[in-house]
């Protein structure tokens, strides 16, 4: 039985010397065989396991990860959440995800610290404002909140932003999705893990998949550093490693892996209550509940599986930040890191069946799959349970790269987040 978390449980446990806290999840050794093996215990893998159990009653499931759960991009992203996409297909999907996020803390009985501080996109010229208008109007038409802001409103909401008309790139306007924001990245992984575990799924850490087992055109399991595990169905939810895993089944993907960096400043007393995004001054920034500024920008320039980045992007991000917020120049960078993101030509995910029976992918999230975790898990679980795509992700099949029916969000989401 799951130990409920609440103010009361904190109090009771405090009185009894905090000795009765239960494991958040059990890290176990693999069984011989499962109905479904999910490769990758990031947000998407864990959420898939949770929804498989909760929505479809499939509980004989293993989630295997080569490292520790949430140690991939889920544990290293700038945690921006929004649903302000351009195309209907993308908006519907990401809006579903945001709605799930809004109830997730309660549902998981785990505080994911969803902080709907709003995501404000800035325009630095009339021309850019026109592009932004097209984008923001699309969002409104798709039934999602997006609010135009003129310069005066922006000044009022963000007095420390450089809104001088003499700036190198003066701000002229923008729009905001108020329901956008951030959530605590680790809590997503731990919260889903806790519930997936409770519902019966096995979480297996330090277990690297080294090969995909197949027979007669069908996937039959995985070979791992902890031995062979048989499976009826296998889901690849390995983000930057998607191509590497798919290659084990001789499948090529429309994905390039690149290092995307993020960085934090030293912790500061709260002073920034909105996330801002700018494509000219290419950086986005928000302040976490612990006080550090969380900063992101563009990816490093070439293919990489090294979870570290170089200086050019750091300098570029910080320069952009200081340009937007000149008063931050005296603050200090405390830590920088990188994750390996799986970028597709249209910057939209690939979800669904792969050309091998029983094998599915949840990947191609690129720079923006954290916000997608609840819906990604939900739709992947559905797709696996029904062996047919969930209506929300039909447009995101691998097949679109054969017919050319790309969902070209690249134009709409100019900034990576």
């Amino acid at each position: 039985m799951l130990q409920r978390y609440s103010l009361l449980s904190l109090f009771k446990n405090g009185l009894t010397g905090n000795e009765n806290w239960q494991p958040t999840w059990r890290s176990v050794e693999p069984k011989k065989s499962y109905d479904v093996v999910i490769v990758g215990a990031g947000g998407h893998g864990l959420a898939t396991a949770y929804y498989l159990a909760r929505n479809h009653g499939i509980t004989n499931v293993a989630i295997v990860d080569k490292g520790w759960i949430g140690g991939g991009n889920t544990g290293r992203n700038t945690s921006a959440i929004r649903s302000n996409y351009f195309y209907r297909e993308a908006t519907d999907f990401f809006e579903r995800s945001l709605q799930l996020y809004e109830g997730l803390g309660e549902e998981l009985n785990y505080n994911i610290m969803l902080s709907q501080i709003g995501v404000m996109t800035l325009a630095h010229s009339e021309h850019e404002m026109e592009g932004i208008r097209r984008w923001a109007n699309a969002i409104q038409i798709n039934g999602v909140d997006s609010e135009f802001l003129d310069l005066e409103q922006i000044r009022k909401e963000l007095p420390i932003l450089n809104t001088s008309v003499n700036a190198r790139y003066p701000v002229v306007g923008g729009f905001v999705q108020r329901r956008g924001g951030v959530a605590r990245h680790d809590a997503i992984a731990w919260g889903y893990a806790r519930r997936a575990d409770e519902l019966g799924a096995d979480i297996i850490e330090q277990c690297e998949v080294t090969n995909l087992l197949q027979h007669g055109g069908r996937v039959t399991g995985v070979e791992t550093s902890k031995g062979k595990i048989n499976a009826g169905q296998v889901v690849l939810a390995v983000a930057g490693h998607s191509s590497h895993l798919a290659a084990m089944a001789d499948i090529k993907l429309p994905i390039t892996s690149m290092a995307l960096q993020a960085m934090v400043s030293e912790p500061l007393k709260p002073f920034l209550n909105t996330m801002t995004v700018s494509s000219v001054c290419h950086a986005y920034v928000s302040q976490s509940d612990r006080g550090e500024l969380v900063i992101g920008g563009s990816a490093d320039i070439c293919n990489s599986y090294a979870q570290r980045g170089g200086m050019p992007v750091v300098e570029e991000n910080i320069r952009a930040l200081v340009e937007l917020y000149p008063c931050l120049s005296r603050l200090k960078l405390m830590r920088q890191w990188a994750g390996i993101v799986d970028i597709t030509p249209d910057t939209c995910p690939v979800i669904g069946a792969l050309p091998m029976s029983g094998l599915y992918i949840n990947g191609g999230w690129g720079t923006g799959g954290f916000k997608a975790i609840p819906a990604g898990g939900e739709t992947t679980a559905y797709t696996v349970a029904h062996d047919s795509p969930h209506p929300l992700v039909e447009a995101f099949s691998l097949e679109r790269f054969r017919s050319g029916e790309l969902v070209n969000e690249a134009a709409a989401s100019g900034v990576a987040h």
Binding site: S243, L253, P254, I301, N303, G310, P345, R402
Partner: protein
């Protein structure tokens, strides 16, 4: 930041270059290439974890394209070669310009 040894100009900082991604070849006879062959070239990549061959251009220097054998895991570069006539690769469109 990486350092790339341009076959013409010598060792320079990564920032002077553009990376064109992994080496792919454009079908020789596009008109007779199947949709699958064509989209393979346009969109699908091996995206190797480990040593692979990719194309780079020395954009801020001699503007020449060349091949780099680079390990995508540790970024070590094992070989750099000029493009030989006959070795074709496909221009990458908008990458990092």
């Amino acid at each position: 930041m990486q350092q790339i040894d341009c076959p013409w100009c010598g060792v320079r900082d990564e920032q002077e270059f553009s990376c064109g991604g992994e080496l792919v070849s454009r079908p020789r006879d596009p008109a007779n290439a199947s949709d699958a062959e064509w989209t393979d070239y346009l969109y699908f990549r091996q995206n190797i974890k480990g040593l692979h061959t990719e194309v780079w251009r020395h954009t801020a220097g001699c503007r020449m394209w060349f091949l780099v054998d680079r390990d995508t895991v540790n970024h070590s570069i094992t070989a750099i070669r000029k493009l030989q006539p006959g070795v074709t690769s496909a221009p990458e469109g908008e990458v990092n310009e």
